[in-house]
């Protein structure tokens, strides 16, 4: 460790300089610019623009749908990760490779195909719509799209943990007379909780800012199926810059708080692994 202080390797100035320059120009200056412009508004104006009835409805949908999608992913993503790691069945490798598909697929295509699947004449919609389950142009559609884009987070966070799980501990539990359910609840579940929480938080954070997949499936009706990022675009198209920036700052602050929470969860999780 000590020799590192002498900086034997060259290039610190060059690489660090370029890193800081590039980071500042592309990330820090734009973020600071947005905050500075927004804070030139008076507090009263900011508050009024941030809490219009339409904005409140948009936040509510964004958070409600993101939470629902993250919960669905936490449950079914965990199940999928478990099945992929623990069991052998035909098509396992294909599904395993496909888990990253939502990451790789452009969000616009995701929205397009999901809207079509759940529409009244779509493959799934033709069965679901008669049952009263309308997936397209409803808040449910928003949840569906957000579940799709957030799913890999839970599965991919959980998989390495499941693979690294020590089977000896389960054997010990079984030897001591625990049934399979008891072993799962008292031995396996506690180890899985931190990565599930991390995956849940990542999926939730991603869902808050999601735009591309939702505009196709939600119908974007004001106060009904309009998400917060879409309202920003609407404000911008109305040349209402103050309104757009205010909503953007609210979203940014929420994202940063979430990022902090994700980091805290990860630190908490790492405490257990060490």
């Amino acid at each position: 460790m000590a020799e590192k202080r002498f900086r034997v390797l060259p290039g610190f100035g060059l690489t660090m300089g370029f890193t800081l320059f590039y980071l500042s120009v592309l990330v820090l200056v734009p973020i600071a610019g947005l905050f500075l412009r927004t804070f030139s508004l008076s507090w009263a104006d900011f508050w009024r623009l941030a809490t219009t009835e339409r904005a409140l409805a948009a936040y509510q949908l964004t958070f409600g749908a993101s939470l629902a999608a993250a919960l669905i992913n936490a449950v079914f993503g965990t199940l999928l990760a478990w099945v992929l790691v623990r069991y052998d069945f035909p098509g396992r490798r294909l599904i395993d490779a496909l888990v990253d598909f939502p990451f790789a697929l452009p969000t616009a295509v995701a929205g397009l195909t999901l809207a079509n699947l759940f529409a009244a004449n779509g493959w799934l919609g033709q069965f679901l719509v008669p049952l009263g389950i309308k997936g397209a142009f409803t808040p449910l559609g928003v949840v569906i799209a957000l579940t799709f884009v957030g799913m890999p987070f839970v599965v991919r966070t959980l998989q390495p943990v499941l693979e690294g799980l020590d089977r000896d501990v389960e054997e010990a539990a079984a030897t001591l007379g625990a049934g399979r359910l008891r072993t799962f609840v008292s031995v396996i579940a506690p180890t899985l909780l931190p990565p599930v929480l991390t995956g849940f938080a990542l999926s939730f954070a991603r869902a808050i800012g999601e735009y591309g997949s939702i505009v196709f499936i939600s119908g974007n009706l004001p106060k009904q199926t309009e998400i917060a990022p879409y309202l920003i675009v609407v404000r911008l198209e109305e040349y209402d810059y103050a309104g757009a920036m205010t909503l953007a700052v609210v979203l940014l602050i929420i994202s940063f708080v979430l990022l902090g929470l994700v980091n805290l969860t990860e630190q908490w999780a790492n405490r257990f692994t060490r």
């Binding site: 900086r7 390797l9 060259p10 290039g11 610190f12 690489t15 660090m16 370029f18 890193t19 590039y22 980071l23 592309l26 990330v27 734009p30 973020i31 610019g33 947005l34 079914f76 199940l79 992929l84 069991y87 052998d88 069945f89 888990v99 598909f101 939502p102 990451f103 790789a104 697929l105 452009p106 969000t107 616009a108 295509v109 397009l112 195909t113 079509n116 699947l117 779509g122 493959w123 799913m151 089977r167 389960e170 054997e171 399979r180 800012g209 999601e210 735009y211 591309g212 990022p229 920003i232 675009v233 911008l236 810059y241 920036m245 953007a248 979203l251 994202s255 979430l258 990022l259 980091n263």
Partner: protein, 301 residues
Amino acid sequence: MAAIPQRKLTAGQRKSQRGTEESPFVKWTLITVALLFALVFLLLPLVNVFAQAFAKGTTVYWEALKHPNTLSAMKLTLLVTAVCVPLNALFGLAAAWAITKFEFRGKSLLVTLIDLPFSVSPVVAGLMFVVLFGLQGYFGEWLADRNLKIIFAVPGIVLATLFVTFPFVARELIPIMQAAGSDQEQSALTLGANGWQTFWHVTLPSVKLGLLYGIILCIARCVGEFGAVSVVSGHITGKTDTVPLHVEKLYNEYQGAAAFAVASILALGALLTLGVKTWLEWREQRLEELAQQAEAEVVDA
């Protein structure tokens, strides 16, 4: 660290482990539910893209792809990708070198800042560049006086794409280079190599898989970015429409089959991305196995 390979157990050994396995009923119920979830949220959306793309026949499909507006959207997307990926790859290499080979204060803050674009909504990212370079923005007047256009033009699309794909390469490289340490580089320097030689012949070969992986993710996102680009593009048909924006426009103009046809190209790209990623992971695993085998043979000898 000789890990016991779980999958190589014989049937007899497996049975003896019954205490640590679920009953077949539970097992197959879990598999069925998980597969249903994967079917609805992974397989059907994928297959549906191609089914809808060809729903009105191959003629409509090819017409949509050959349309001048589609071709110009593809050209723009390729141009943006060709500019953004090398820049972010260069940044990723520089940032990973600075962060992993040296000790300095504020390192964890720097890593957090590099990840920041991931937690910014794409729409907000686009808006930031409008605030900077739009007509009413900080540099709006200055740019207008000089007849320069950034927003509603290609430079704005490039900037927004750079922002959203900013962390991809860096975040792949940092953990790999951290794990590798800098002993090899130090040896190379001791043996008389200069800094560049060390980088080209020692560091780069050892991180090339990670670099390639980061670049692939970066390309996928560059091609597919929608929200950020949508805000800064201005949607001028044939000029500032990228492929995803063109898909949206076709969809809004009730040309569903054409929208799906263009979308199918993007979906093919996504499948290609997955294929290369799976291949890279397989290769890495294989290399590790070979290394373990060689190690075992040396120990035996």
